[in-house]
C-alpha cells in the first residue's frame, strides 16, 4: 500500500467507514509500520483539537425562526427595526404637537393698552395672572390698533 493510499484508508478507518476485515488489515499495517502508527496518533489528536475548536458553544448556537400570528414565519433578524419604526413614528407625531403648543402659547399673549399708555400683556404663557408691563415704545402696535 503506497503512502497516498494508506492515508486515504486512515481517514476512512478513523471515520468508521471500513468493514471489519479492512479495519483489521489497517490495524495490522499500523502495528507494523511506525510511520502509519505515528500518523494515526497525530490524526486522532488533530481531530480532537479541531472538534473542540469548532464545536465550542457560542457563536454557533442556532435560534429558530419566529412564528407570527398568521401562522407564517419571519426571520429573527433586524430586531432593531420595530423600535426604530416606533421611535420615528413618535417623532413624526410629536413635531406637529410641539409646534401647535408653541403657537398656542404665543396666542395667549394678548397685548392691551392701559390708560397710562402702557402696553400690557395680561397673561403670559402658562403662568396665570402674570402681567408683563412693557415700556411705551417697546411694543410696536400692529396696524389697525388705536390708542
Amino acid at each position: 500500500m503506497n503512502t497516498e493510499t494508506w492515508k486515504v484508508t486512515l481517514e476512512a478507518y478513523l471515520d468508521g467507514e471500513l468493514s471489519q476485515q479492512q479495519a483489521r488489515d489497517f490495524e495490522e499495517l499500523a502495528a507494523s509500520d511506525p510511520a502509519v502508527e505515528a500518523e494515526l496518533a497525530t490524526r486522532r489528536s488533530l481531530r480532537a483539537a479541531w472538534r473542540d475548536a469548532l464545536l465550542a458553544p457560542g457563536e454557533t448556537q442556532a435560534t429558530r425562526p419566529i412564528r407570527i400570528p398568521s401562522g407564517r414565519f419571519r426571520r429573527k433578524t433586524m430586531g432593531w427595526l420595530p423600535p426604530a419604526l416606533a421611535a420615528s413614528l413618535a417623532l413624526l407625531l410629536a413635531i406637529p404637537l410641539l409646534d401647535r403648543s408653541e403657537h398656542a402659547q404665543n396666542e395667549n399673549i394678548t397685548p392691551a393698552l392701559t390708560r397710562s399708555g402702557q402696553v400690557v400683556a395680561p397673561s403670559f404663557g402658562e403662568i396665570p395672572g402674570r402681567i408683563v408691563v412693557l415700556e411705551p415704545g417697546v411694543f410696536d402696535l400692529p396696524s389697525g390698533w388705536c390708542r
Binding site: V8, T60, A62, P65, R75, K76
Partner: protein, 176 residues
C-alpha cells in the same frame, strides 16, 4: 369528565431545529465564514423547510442549507463581478499572522479562526466533505447522497481537504 390538557405538543420545526440547528449553523459557518451571514442562512434554511418539516431528515436539512449557502455565494460572486465562487474573503477573520504564534495549540478561538481560514481556501465540495465528516460525524454514504457522488469520492475529497488544512495550519504554527 374533562381530560387534563396535555402538555403542548412539540413543534416539528422546533424538533428539527433542536436536532440539527447547531450542526447546520456550524456547517454554514464553514461555508461562508461570516457568523451573521451564517445565521441568516440558517433562518433561510429552516424557512424553506417549513412546508416539508414533517419527516425531513438530516440529509434534506443539510442539502437545503448548502443550497442556501451556494445561492448566497453566487450572489456575492455576481456582486463582486469575478468568475469564481469566492472562498469568502480570507481576510474577514483575523487568522494569526504567519509564524506569529508557534507555541499556541490550545487556543480554541484562534484555532477555530485558523481552521475556518484554511477551509475558506478549499473548494466547496472538499469543505463540505471535511466538515460534515470530520466535525459532524456524518457517514460518507449520507454526504455522498447529499452531494450526488459516490462514498469513495467523499473519502478522496476529505483526504485532500485534511492534507490542505494541515498545510495551512502548519504555516500558521498550529501544527509542527
Amino acid at each position: 369528565m374533562s381530560e387534563i390538557p396535555n402538555r403542548k405538543q412539540a413543534d416539528p420545526l422546533d424538533q428539527l431545529m433542536a436536532s440539527h440547528g447547531d450542526g447546520v449553523l456550524r456547517y454554514l459557518r464553514s461555508l461562508v465564514r461570516d457568523p451573521e451571514v451564517a445565521r441568516d442562512l440558517l433562518q433561510d434554511t429552516f424557512l424553506k423547510l417549513i412546508d416539508r418539516v414533517e419527516g425531513a431528515g438530516r440529509t434534506l436539512v443539510y442539502a437545503t442549507a448548502r443550497n442556501c449557502a451556494l445561492d448566497h455565494l453566487r450572489r456575492l460572486k455576481v456582486r463582486r463581478g469575478n468568475g469564481s465562487i469566492p472562498a469568502e474573503a480570507s481576510s474577514q477573520l483575523s487568522a494569526p499572522a504567519l509564524g506569529s504564534r508557534p507555541d499556541v495549540h490550545l487556543d480554541a478561538a484562534g484555532l477555530r479562526d485558523a481552521i475556518l481560514g484554511g477551509l475558506a481556501t478549499l473548494p466547496e465540495d472538499q469543505r463540505t466533505a471535511f466538515h460534515l465528516s470530520e466535525i459532524e460525524g456524518i457517514p460518507y454514504a449520507e454526504i455522498a447522497d447529499l452531494l450526488g457522488v459516490s462514498p469513495g469520492t467523499i473519502a478522496s475529497r476529505k483526504h485532500h481537504a485534511v492534507r490542505k488544512l494541515r498545510q495551512h495550519l502548519r504555516r500558521l504554527g498550529y501544527e509542527h
